[in-house]
Amino acid sequence: MSKKLYDGLESKEINRIKKKSQVQFVLSHLFKNRLAVAGILFLSIMIISSIAIGFLVDYKVIVKHDLRNKLLGVSARYWFGTDGFGRNLFYRIIYGARISLMIGFVSVAGSTVLGGTIGSIAGYYGGKLDIIIMRFIDIQMAIPSTLFAICIVSVLGTGITNLLLAIMIADIPQFALIFRSSVMSVKNSEFVEAARSNGCSTYRIIFRHILPNCMGPIIVQATLNLGGVILTAASLSFIGLGVMPPTPEWGVILTEGQEYMRDFPTLVIFPGLAIMLTVLACNFIGDGLRDALDPKLK
């Protein structure tokens, strides 16, 4: 009798599992990881509030100087206080998330696609093509990426688009290297040979068999880079090569707060915290995704 009961339970269990799709599997796993949930929450709050602020507050209010109210402390009206020009620091930081996150997502997506294409070609085809591509990547790797971005910005000129391009190009080698090595390691697996023996085309083998098996390290790298890119963007803006004041970008806010740092430390603490927490959130999500995407843990 006990066996019957067990069998009944088992088939119910199987039905429950069967109903879940791949995406649900990954998400349910991701939501079990508390740090990842915290990261997702923080990032979504940032994204939603930075979008919402565009509708709730006039952009003029964010950039307008109001010298009577400059350098106020934390209060009910000014949650993070005001900066040296009397602008509401809370508004500026929330609005700044728009620019920083946009730069982060777009440039990481861009360098993943570009670097991924270059790296996959090099890794899959190998031989002379690989050698030629990788030497160019090596040359670029020899230049520190922030320095490289500075070079590009100084050639192209400052501005958000150029900053984005600069960071995107500077990050290509990292992605190319990771894609290349993962593709190379998966390429020789027996299941790829088995797929070929079942009549899969090269295109299909790359996109359905090799690349999905490389996703783990790539997603981790992309989320880690998201944090890094936000930092680079902020630092380029900080040294005056990225976004120009009065646009409220986090790096710009930091620069502006720098001169009052001794007497009014909140002016750098709050934008610094915003950068730090966003980078941290990205890293937590990256770690969570890596675990959730590994089918062996299910």
Binding site: S11, I14, I17, K18, S21, Q22, V23, G126, G127, S189, E190, F191, E193, A194, A195, R196, S197, N198, G199, C200, S201, R204, R208, H209, P212, N213, P295, K296, K298
Partner: protein, 344 residues
Amino acid sequence: MNGNPLLEIEDLFTVYNTEIGVVKAINGISLQLREGMTLGLVGETGAGKTTTALSIMRLLPEKTGKVIKGAIKFEGKNLLDLDEFEMEKIRGKEISMIFQDPLSSLNPIMTVADQIEEVLMIHQSDKKKKSYNFLQNSQLFLRSNTKIERKTDEILELVGISSDRKREFPHQFSGGMKQRVSIAMALICNPKLIIADEPTTALDVTIQAQVIEIMEKLKQQLNTAMILITHDLGIVASICDEIAIMYAGEIIEFGTVEDIFDRNKKHHPYTQGLFDSIPRLDDDKPRLKPIRGLMPDPTDLPASCKFHPRCDFCMDICTKQNPLPLKEQMHMIRCHLYSGSKEL
């Protein structure tokens, strides 16, 4: 004997161009396989068994492996003349392959059903010339093609896996079940020829028996021809119709199971050695008699008989001249021992 020739290999030479030199992996083998028959390829590691299989599938490593001479005719078509696109249509549909290690021959991040359905889907879209719909096939979307799904269930039940488990990933199955999944993948399009490359080597003995039983059952049901590559003479005896014994890229003895396993018939000294290396219950020998020495270096093969340095019956002529094949009906031996007589 029944059936038309399905696969004919004529005087095949395959080499690997490596850094240390040209590895002569296959040196002129000729084979014939008729519909519905099972051929066992037996030999030591490095005898060229897997290379033969890869040459047939045209899956030799691109940069190094190359067929330099010969023809592989499948239903009259020379596979070596086909372009890559035509070959893709044959792989999996007409000829499919079962690999040695089921642990690594399944894609770890695709469910079992997805992998089996993929094979069907590739070859179905060929036939209907329907543009391939990526979204429909993607794991993220609900499958609408119930016909394919039904076929997958059927084939899984056929190899003895409950279709309830088809949405599971390969790591959730045991080794034997994984090998059954790869057998299901190989069979799904009803191929005319299956090449099984040591399908039982990575499995333990009880599972080996199961897998062999399933393969035999399916072979009879579907009337598929099979090339079974193995070192296990027991498996060969239980499942094969014909046996080719390979040594250093040559077939040194060929015959029906009866020819090879009949100890009273004449055999190549190497075949003799293979049988002497198997422990037997009815023999009271204290020790096994292994074949002395090692396989010759494949970059530097002797021009004469390739087995002569290890052969107990080596004669003068063996070091000078490569023996010609001697035939008696199906039974073929390449050895100077019997070259005096015209027939075996």
